[in-house]
């Protein structure tokens, strides 16, 4: 369980990015965080793995206060994939990159192989394993970065804008990944601008605005609350928008629901 309790965060230049946040994420949840840039999404998730230490309040990961340990220690539990894979990847092949953390943790050959296979299958990158990451197209390089974090087997995985730059196939792989990981007991938390992706794959949606959480609930709670939509400057998913224009009730967000109603 990740608990953020009355946490505020200030940057060294004095800029307050979060004010008195409270949030609990339980094991096995699928959580999407949405909102405009500057709303504090990245600042908030960086508190979950200790990269940002709250200025006031506490962040507790499985009973451990992030203030008491190094980022690397928390990283064993909370993996974080940055938006830009080029900030992470440094090995000469995708395989070495993905094997890096399991080997860093000095796991047995067998276990390294098992973890790598698991990550590679989920990310659908088997054909790129022996390629230099910089010769792999950018969208797929993002999957290499994700696989490398999955292979270190954290209990919680945070993805920052995974769908940016992905095509339909990439987005589908990501959707399946979220399902598979949570089925295997790994909590997935994602920041996303892609509302269709959020609606389709996440049970819980958190909308952020003005340095705080303005709505935390189901996709229906968030996307059918016009105040939240306006405040967080997000876009209602297409089917929701159409249903709203047609004056239908029932908080419709999906195509089949809408077809049934017409």
């Amino acid at each position: 369980m990740i608990e953020i309790k009355n946490a505020s965060f200030k940057y060294p230049n004095g800029f307050t990015a979060l004010e008195n946040i409270n949030l609990t994420i339980k094991e096995g949840e699928k959580v999407a965080i949405v909102g405009q840039n500057g709303a504090g999404k990245t600042t908030c998730v960086k508190m979950m793995n200790g990269l940002n230490r709250p200025f006031e309040g506490d962040v507790i990961v499985d009973g451990v206060n992030t203030k008491d340990v190094t980022v690397a220690t928390i990283a064993r539990k909370v993996g974080y994939v940055f938006q830009n894979p080029d900030e992470q990847i440094f090995n000469s092949t995708a395989r070495k990159e993905i094997e890096f953390m399991p080997r860093y943790y000095k796991l047995s050959e067998e276990e390294v192989k098992q973890r790598v296979d698991y990550a590679v299958e989920i990310c659908d990158i088997a054909r790129y394993m022996d390629t230099n990451p910089y010769e792999i197209p950018y969208p797929i390089r993002k999957f290499v970065a994700i696989a490398a974090v999955i292979a270190s087997r954290p209990k919680y995985i945070i993805l920052d804008e995974p769908t940016a730059g992905q095509d339909l196939h990439g987005t589908q792989v990501l959707g399946a990944m979220v399902d598979k990981l949570t089925k295997d007991g790994i909590t997935v938390i994602t920041i996303t601008h892609d509302m269709e992706f959020a609606v389709r794959n996440f049970e819980r949606v958190i909308a952020m605005a003005h340095k705080n959480i303005i709505c935390d609930g189901t996709a229906q709670d968030v996307f059918w609350n016009e105040d939240v939509i306006a405040d967080a400057k997000i876009k209602k998913p297409a089917m929701g928008e159409l249903a709203k224009r047609l004056g239908l009730d029932g908080k419709i967000l999906f195509c089949d629901e809408l077809v049934k109603r017409l």
Partner: protein, 269 residues
């Protein structure tokens, strides 16, 4: 939109202080000539005079804070080091004039002057050059050089590499964070830190390199390789006659000081 700002590009580049507004090459000539003079004369008096002029100049051009910080960083260790070394070097040379006794350590006048000569010629030199670099935008220098026939390719390489150093520093921070977030321990003893340093090196260099190809494409789209007239939005003031006169004076000072140094050397022989 601030139209006044937009139309200000119709005027010559202007900062509003005489020294900064001088043509970067005229300025460079003066700074280099005076710097060289200080090096060849090697007298503390000359160095001190240069330093006083330089300091007044720094106050006038409002760069005093930055100037002082850099100058002190050079001057203090230099003064301490040269004086102490010279005193130690000549501690047992007979015939020197005693200066004072510091807790049983006898100081002499001649080695003290020698050390002052060395320290102050360097300080004088630094003072002039600091005044130059703190008061000259690199883009103005490159523009002046382009006006004298340096290609815009050379100018681009120079200016963009300076920017990429700034960018690299920024990306280094993010890369370090990202490696921490993966679980690589970065806090601790030297070995731990060295181990953490390695994974950041690759991405920093690679991101700088992979950026260059795209930059080249972007610049190509901006007609970078277009041949025939290149025009400039920013134009430097045509060099006024008095700048040439100042340059000539600076060259004279340099020639004079070289002559002085040569004469002095001949006298010694």
């Amino acid at each position: 939109m601030d139209r006044e700002f937009a139309y200000s590009y119709n005027n010559y580049v202007k900062y509003g202080n005489g020294w900064k507004d001088m043509n970067p090459i005229s300025k460079l000539t003066i700074a280099v000539c005076l710097g060289i003079s200080s090096c060849v004369i090697q007298r503390w008096q000359f160095g001190v005079v240069l330093c006083i002029i330089g300091t007044l100049m720094a106050v006038y051009t409002k760069i005093f804070r930055k100037y002082l910080r850099s100058l002190l960083a050079i001057a203090i260790p230099l003064l301490l080091l040269t004086t102490i070394l010279r005193q130690l070097q000549y501690a047992h040379t007979p015939g020197f004039t005693p200066l004072f006794n510091l807790l049983g350590w006898q100081w002499y006048k001649e080695p003290f002057i020698m050390s002052m000569n060395v320290a102050w010629y360097i300080i004088g030199f630094s003072s002039v050059l600091l005044n130059y670099f703190l008061n000259t935008e690199m883009k103005d220098l490159m523009l002046a050089l382009e006006n004298r026939g340096v290609t815009h390719v050379a100018s681009y390489i120079m200016l963009s590499s300076m920017q990429s150093i700034i960018d690299m520093k920024k990306s280094a921070d993010t890369i370090l964070e990202s490696q921490k977030a993966r679980g690589i321990e970065t806090d601790g003893n030297l070995i731990v830190r060295m181990k953490a340093f390695f994974p950041t090196l690759g991405p920093i260099l690679l991101s700088a390199m992979s950026g260059t190809e795209e930059k080249a494409i972007a610049m190509d789209a901006r007609a970078f390789s277009h041949e025939g007239g290149h025009t400039y939005l920013r134009v430097l003031r045509p060099v006024p006659v008095w700048e040439y006169i100042l340059d000539a004076l600076a060259v004279l000072v340099m020639i004079g000081s070289i002559a002085y140094a040569v004469l002095r050397a001949m006298q010694r022989i």
